[in-house]
């Protein structure tokens, strides 16, 4: 936006005191076994550098600790700015809706990831990693692989990352030695990508179990493989892993099991009744869904129980609706056309909401990687620029909107304490200094109080 329009001013609002979103709270702190193992810090730093360059531009301001809904409303923002872009992603989880889902010891992968990445909303999650030797992860996407990897990494390999201190302490005492990654469908449909799969298969001293029988492909599977380069490469990795790993008799060796064609039927309680002791899985088979042409998993009525003391559900994120924002409950996204928000008029016709835009996971659903989101943002920006060129963003009243000054006024009226980019820089400096003392890139500050304290310091 800044690049395309000379006089444009952009304000970035975030409910956290820290910017960068998932680059700070979502990306796994480790990435082992590749010759580019310095990579996460390198490209994280590159993304951070790019963002920082933008934030340092005088036409741009960062406002941290400002909550859409409680600090400022959507209608307030629309009154103050010519264009409002919602890019707040997906901070909730898809619910399985099976019995026992509320038992202790069952978490969404998002909560677990936020916990080990030091997100202030999850610093107190305190998952019990000492009551069991087995964890079950439902899902086989990249996030599922991330959490499995964090549970199985030798602790010394985590010590030099920026993983949150409280997570490091728990993981050091963890008794978990077996992790199951359970998918409803087969290896051809697994949602993970080649790089992430290769990384986890390459972890030292990790015994990986994949059943050869699960690798058999149907004609429909072969069609999917023919059309999908990414699926082909993932399937090949699974095939190689199934044949190359030998029987192990190393006592205490950590195990990673890929289970295919299983869906969770219910969670089983322990004797105390309030924590999970296992998952009942139903075997599935694939049927072609005529409408979409995709293959879907259908239950076969055969069940088996898998004992475990920790369950991580990695079955997808979900966006959270906001007052005044059109929202498609079923798909969990904001209805839009190339990023322009759509609502329904009295006659149920879709109309474009003037000056309101959406991008990222809130626009497309919680899939894709960093690159996907960048392309998505480009599309939304193109829509904004087109609308601006066509005079569609001119205020109807005739007088220009107050923009940043208006926001500052609203924040002052509410006595709201926002964190400017310089505030983040103070947090950053403190974290990196503390990290240096411990041979890590940074030691993350993980509670709201301490984050805001660091801004004051």
């Amino acid at each position: 936006m800044l690049k395309a329009l000379d006089g444009a001013e952009v304000d970035i609002l975030d409910r956290l005191p820290t910017p960068f979103g998932l680059v700070r709270s979502g990306v796994a702190p480790d990435h082992p076994e590749t010759k580019l193992s310095h990579l996460p810090e390198t490209w994280k730093q590159i993304v951070v550098n790019q963002f920082s360059r933008v934030a340092a531009n005088e036409r741009c301001s960062f406002f941290g600790n400002v909550n859409l809904g409680t600090t400022v409303s959507l209608s307030d923002l629309c009154k103050m700015y010519d264009a409002v872009v919602l890019a707040y992603g997906a901070e909730s989880d898809r619910y399985l809706g099976v019995p026992g889902e509320d038992l202790g010891g069952i978490y969404s992968a998002r909560e677990f990831v936020w916990w080990y990445n030091g997100h202030p909303d999850c610093s107190n999650v305190s998952p019990d990693l000492k009551n069991t030797d087995t964890a079950v992860v439902l899902g086989q996407g990249n996030v599922a692989l991330d959490v499995a990897r964090i549970l199985l990494r030798p602790i010394n390999e985590l010590e030099t990352t920026d993983i949150a201190e409280h997570a490091l302490t728990s993981l050091r005492e963890s008794t978990i030695r077996k992790v199951y990654l359970v998918g409803r469908r087969g290896p051809v449909q697994a949602a993970c990508t080649a790089k992430e799969l290769r990384e986890i298969l390459g972890i030292k001293d990790l015994h990986v179990c994949i059943q050869k029988a699960d690798l058999l492909t149907s004609a429909a599977d072969e069609e999917e493989l023919k059309k999908g380069r990414i699926q082909r490469r993932v399937y090949e990795l699974f095939s190689k892993a199934a044949t190359s790993h030998q029987q192990h008799d190393i006592v205490g060796q950590r195990e990673l099991h890929f289970m295919f064609f299983r869906k969770p039927d219910r969670f089983l309680p322990s004797e105390s009744g309030n924590t999970v002791s296992g998952v009942r899985l139903e075997k599935t088979c694939l049927k072609e869904n005529g409408a979409s042409g995709k293959q879907v998993a259908v239950g076969t009525g055969q069940f088996e129980d898998l004992k475990c003391g920790l369950v991580l559900k990695s079955v997808g994120y979900k966006s959270v609706p906001v007052d005044g924002l059109p929202f498609d409950e079923y798909r969990g996204v904001v209805p839009n056309m190339k990023g322009r928000v759509l609502s329904l008029d009295q006659a149920e016709h879709a109309i474009v909401e003037k000056g309101l835009y959406v991008t990222g996971w809130l626009k497309r659903g919680p899939t894709g990687i960093i690159a996907t989101n960048l392309y998505c943002a480009e599309e939304t920006v193109a829509s904004i620029l087109e609308d601006f060129k066509n005079g569609l963003l001119t205020p109807s009243s005739g007088s220009p909107k107050p923009g940043r000054q208006g926001l500052l006024q609203v924040l002052e009226n509410k006595n709201a304490r926002f964190v400017p980019f310089s505030g983040w820089e103070k947090i950053d400096t403190k974290e990196r200094m503390e990290g240096e003392l411990r041979n890590k890139p940074r030691k993350k500050i993980t509670t709201w109080e301490e984050l805001l304290l660091a801004v004051d310091g």
């Binding site: 800044l2 690049k3 590749t34 010759k35 580019l36 990579l39 390198t42 490209w43 590159i46 790019q50 360059r53 933008v54 531009n57 990508t193 080649a194 790089k195 290769r198 380069r229 990414i230 490469r233 990687i369 690159a371 996907t372 960048l374 392309y375 480009e378």
Partner: protein, 97 residues
Amino acid sequence: MSMLEAAHQNDIDLEGACEGSLACSTCHVIVMDVDYYKKLEEPTDEENDMLDLAFGLTETSRLGCQVIAKPELDGMRLALPAATRNFAVDGFKPKPH
């Protein structure tokens, strides 16, 4: 010298957002003659991972930062894909080394 570096040294607008560290696909190029494509070394797994994400991928696509100049490649023609994705939001252009 890689094709990415060569492009920058000759003011060709080929982006290299990750600065050649195989963390993006912005330097995606298409080798126009399959004979030249065959002269190149096979892409590594890491390059293939990034090519997976490239827009407009073809059978002779490569990442510009991984194709290194050598005498056998004299005369090779590279096409930039139909749509270029500029990741640098502030117009930042990496300086030639």
